[in-house]
């Protein structure tokens, strides 16, 4: 089976052929059309048969749209609010106000960098305690002004480092969980890329939890699981398959509410289309939950998390 990179190369070649054809009037149009059809078929096959590990790679694809791309496409007037008021301003986790369909919302979003420089600044999307505490400030802000909260999740996980531990990263995540479960406004979380462990969950407790088709959400990375459980870092494909971290699995397991379809080849193949599908879904969900009295909403949210888990009951 062809992999994505090969197909991308083929796509580029077809494009070159088209250019050549146009310039030099070679009249290759029917051959080009046939090639395109073949490409489409191969892609459909590829994505139908894509392994979970392939999907993880797609979720991490360097061309994949990041939070600011979606913010740009779906919202207007994004007004970033910086700083945790305690010690820092984490660039891996953004907070701000925006308008969504004209309505003010609070946005919390994990943001990866495109360039090495940007990634250095954004810690590859791995937030530190100051990021999670900035998010908590944004939540309190949302509550004060009754703005719904939309969070966009895209992180390999919380930043694991000495400074993080010194600033109580575990405590910061824990406090966010507690805050979000009781937040007196409608909340939606969307995993747009990687939903990495506690670092994702710390902005992911919400009334609705959505996933993009090629996003993943997992307690641990396949690499981490391979290293810890299989004692072999190379067994990531097996680990990925077993972790059930892709959208179809998560939907089956009933831990997410909806999967937003992506174009063939992934969100980066058509950013606008992806954003537009996500926006439609967000609007629908937001309308639903905004219509509920807040006590009822809090109760549903509580029940959702209170009841999560799989175990069976025996005779005591």
């Amino acid at each position: 089976m062809s992999d994505e990179m090969t197909l991308d190369l083929l796509e580029a070649k077809i494009q070159e052929l088209r250019e050549l054809d146009k310039q030099d009037l070679l009249n290759l149009s029917s051959e080009i059309e046939r090639l395109e059809k073949r490409l489409e078929e191969m892609r459909t096959e590829l994505y139908a048969n894509m392994s979970d590990w392939e999907r993880v790679k797609l979720a991490r694809h360097p061309q994949r749209p990041y939070a600011l791309d979606y913010i740009d496409e779906m919202f207007t007037d994004f007004y970033e609010l910086h700083g945790d008021r305690l010690c820092g301003d984490d660039r891996a986790l953004l907070t701000g106000l925006a308008r969504f369909d004209g309505r003010p919302i609070v946005v919390i979003a994990q943001q990866k960098g495109r360039s090495p420089q940007e990634n250095k600044e954004r810690y590859f999307g791995m937030a530190r305690p100051q990021g999670y505490r900035k998010a908590r400030r944004a939540m309190a802000f949302a509550e004060r002004f009754a703005f719904p909260v939309i969070s966009l999740i895209d992180t390999p996980g919380a930043y694991p480092g000495l400074e993080s531990e010194e600033r109580n990263i575990g405590g910061a995540i824990a406090e966010n969980l507690l805050t979000m479960i009781g937040l007196r406004v409608p909340t939606i979380a969307v995993v747009i890329g990687e939903g990495g462990s506690g670092g994702a969950l710390a902005i992911g407790v919400a009334d609705r939890v959505l996933l993009l088709e090629n996003a993943t959400y997992s307690v641990i990375s396949p690499e981490g699981a391979a290293a810890i459980l299989w004692k072999d870092k190379k067994l990531t494909t097996e680990a990925a398959a077993t972790l059930n971290l892709t959208a179809p699995h998560l939907l089956d397991l009933k831990v997410i509410d909806e999967v937003i379809p992506e174009p063939l080849g992934g969100a980066h193949k058509d950013r606008k289309q992806t954003a537009s599908a996500l926006k439609a879904s967000l609007l629908r969900h937001l309308e639903e939950i905004s219509g509920m009295p807040i006590e009822g909403l809090l109760d549903s949210r509580y029940q959702r998390y209170r009841s999560v888990g799989r175990y069976h009951t025996l005779n005591g």
Partner: protein
Amino acid sequence: MPIFKDKHYFRVNLEREPDENLWMTCKACGELVFKQRVRESDNICPHCGEYFFLTAKERIESLIDERSFVDISQPIVAEDPLSFVDSKPYPQRIEEAQEATGLAGAIIIGSAVISSIPVVLGVMDFRFIGGSMGSVMGEQICHGMEEAIGRRSPFVLVSSSGGARIQEGIFSLLQMAKTAAVRGRLAAERLPFISVMTYPTSGGVQASIASLGDVIIAERGAMIGFAGRRVIQNTIAEELPKDYQTDLFALEHGLIDRVVKREDLRAELGNVLGFFVEGR
């Protein structure tokens, strides 16, 4: 003794089988010590002061007023929602852990009395798949807090866990939110939650319920933190200080309230719980 294979759930009680070996050798000092003596002194070597590892039962015994413990856990056992297989299938791993420990899961929930104060107590057992938190532990902790609410009594949780139960995937992750949710109810009821962190309290447990105590007490020698030394060194190749994630590191950086010697922990709990009990 495949006690859980037939899907039976046994209550924990603290009565012990008579032990054939009356003596043991301390790994730290090499001395031959009388087991009964070790047991009576909270599993601390009477010779050199080394802390021996505590099972959940031993931990409970070391904290509570004698014969005050009643297992009130839910009669639940783990499922295998992901049909998870690594070096062995997850159900087999569970069964082996059950057989090795005589426990249904990695935590025991009970009612008990500590310094004459009735409490609901949860104690993790690190031997049970690293004390990891899956659906069963999450549910048991929540059940414990709800029991505390029902009884209007404090909740005490003794953690000893490597973090999430990877084999339960996303369900394991979500136990962090689940336990935090019920912890919120406990707070709304103004009932105290004392979190005791022992060696180790890390990963998803440290990043959720264990860090949400009204008072957080670490046992001396506890390891406390989110990301292990190896994870950090693999991810970002950062130099880590010697005291990384030690009890004193946690104290110095404000993560916890106190560090307490094992032999003082029982009295410490009595002290702090006393503040929340009318007329003491």
